[in-house]
Amino acid sequence: MLQTGNYSLVLLIQLVLLTYDLFVNSFSELLRGAPVIQLVLFIIQDIAILFSVIIILLMMFNTYVFQVGLVSLLLERFRALLAFSALYLTLSICLHCWVLNLRWLDSNRFIWTDGLQALFVFQRTAAVLYYYLYKRTAEFMGDPRLYEDSLWLRDAFARTRQ
């Protein structure tokens, strides 16, 4: 069974990572006095996204549902988050590489093209959906049914075996 203290701590870490991500997405364009600042911010942001995904995956592995082998049940339930996390991480890395590549020599240069603008819009929109799904999933990982044997789980197990 998941301990409340452990869950609170993990949830806090997840929310901190999300907050950092939102902060960088919002204000990274302002913090471009030197290209290295953006470089550090972007590297930490990408690592934070990766950490977030790893944490949510570890939480999933910690569930009783996963341990009895009902991985498909978890994937079915949280597939949207996993998909958006992968999409968002990919878009973020692409955008960061592109922006840094263009701004590396002159950080105050006008770099915008239609392609970059489109990628920017997609990345920021995916970020919002990722925040929503991640927060929701992190809250739903506190579902006690995922951590103990129950009639619901037995029924799901029986249905999967059929």
Partner: protein, 373 residues
């Protein structure tokens, strides 16, 4: 009480008989009484007998009367009497006889009174040990009651224990100890909902302020656009960043409240024009529109540095007009979304969904399975 009365009557009869029989018999009885009293009381209250003879007789008299009346009133005296064996019964009888005798014969026989007083010395002492004897269980009434309850009715005892436990749990248990992961999740959700509510209002106000400033700086018929660029360029990028931050929080909050991940519920909300669903749609559109103006915002931001290449003379109107219109639309959208959300601030479908997180809620499990979270 009736037994006491009948005994009193018995005593009266005995007293009359004793009077008839004479003094010698009385003395004999007294001696017997004294002996039997001392015999019976010694093992029970050995220490209380010694200080008694030192007391003054008058005091003893009054105290005797008080003790007598008390003894007659206390029902416990009856319950104790059957325990007394034959000899003690006679003691009790003689004791009461002497009490009555003391009150009746005190006037007639002053010399006898002396002798009776001697016996009264023991009598005055006898109620005290008796009282102490009966008061002893009173002191331990709680544990005795417990044992009785547990022995006689086991089921009842269990219930009492359960009730006691529940009461203890209600009174003394720390609320943090009974916190579950669900409670933590709900608290976090509540916290974010408060932030979201603040964000909705702040965003609406900020967007309206932003577009007002832009229109004021642009002048009538947008004739003073260079003035707008000159005045607004330091604010353009921070404003854009803040707008994205607030829009992101507001959109996530609106999605949370409509429970967007549960597709069927969200679709039903959109089709029935649920206020929260409409608001989340408006916020999402505003977000995309706002993001689409990132390029123009950066262009405004770089107005003083790259004036020649980015802003050739005469292109201000062409670049700024769509930007102003989009900002106006964004301001209208977030304003309307805030108004719509404010009409039903109590709707939160995700919270309702989180509330159903319990093992016993098995019927809800089937619904949960269908959710692509």
């Amino acid at each position: 009480m009736p037994t006491v009365k009948s005994k009193k009557k018995k005593v009266k009869k005995e007293v009359i008989a004793a009077e008839e029989q004479g003094e010698g018999m009385e003395v004999e009885m007294e001696n017997r009484t004294n002996r039997s009293n001392s015999d019976s009381k010694d093992p029970l209250t050995p220490d209380l007998q010694d200080p008694a003879p030192h007391k003054k007789k008058k005091k003893k008299k009054t105290s005797t009367i008080v003790q007598e009346t008390e003894h007659a009133d206390i029902p416990n005296g009856n319950s104790a009497e059957p325990i007394i064996d034959g000899e003690e019964m006679t003691v009790a009888v003689t004791r009461k006889t002497k009490k009555k005798r003391k009150s009746k014969l005190a006037e007639h026989h002053s010399s006898d009174l002396r002798a009776e007083d001697d016996s009264i010395i023991y009598e005055t002492q006898s109620p005290i040990p008796q009282h102490a004897l009966f008061s002893a269980p009173h002191g331990h009434s709680q544990p005795v009651g417990k044992v009785f309850v547990e022995r006689s009715r086991r089921f009842h005892t269990d219930r009492v224990e359960q009730l006691r436990h529940s009461e203890l749990a209600d009174d003394y248990m720390d609320p943090r100890q009974i916190w579950t992961t669900r409670d933590v999740a709900l608290k976090v959700h509540h916290g974010f909902r408060v932030i979201g509510l603040f964000s909705h209002g702040f965003l609406a106000g900020y967007a309206v302020w932003n577009i007002t400033v832009v229109y004021v700086l642009a002048g009538e018929e947008m004739r003073t656009l260079p003035n707008l660029l000159q005045q607004y360029h330091p604010l353009a990028y921070p404003a854009q960043s803040l707008l994205y931050l607030l829009l992101a929080i507001s959109t996530v909050s609106a999605f949370d409240r409509v429970n967007l991940a549960k597709t069927s519920m969200a679709l039903r909300g959109f089709l029935t024009l649920d206020p929260v669903a409409v608001a989340s749609f408006l916020y999402f559109i505003a977000l995309i529109l706002s993001l689409s103006q990132q390029m123009t915002s950066d262009r405004i931001n770089l107005y003083p540095t790259a004036n020649q290449t980015l802003w050739p003379p005469g292109t201000e109107h062409q670049v700024l007009r769509p930007w102003i219109v989009v900002n106006l639309v964004v301001a209208l959208l977030v304003g309307v979304a805030w108004a719509v959300v404010s009409t039903r601030p109590d709707i939160d479908y995700t919270e309702e969904f989180l509330m159903t997180m319990e093992v016993e809620g098995y019927p809800r499990g089937d619904e949960n399975l269908d959710i692509p979270a």
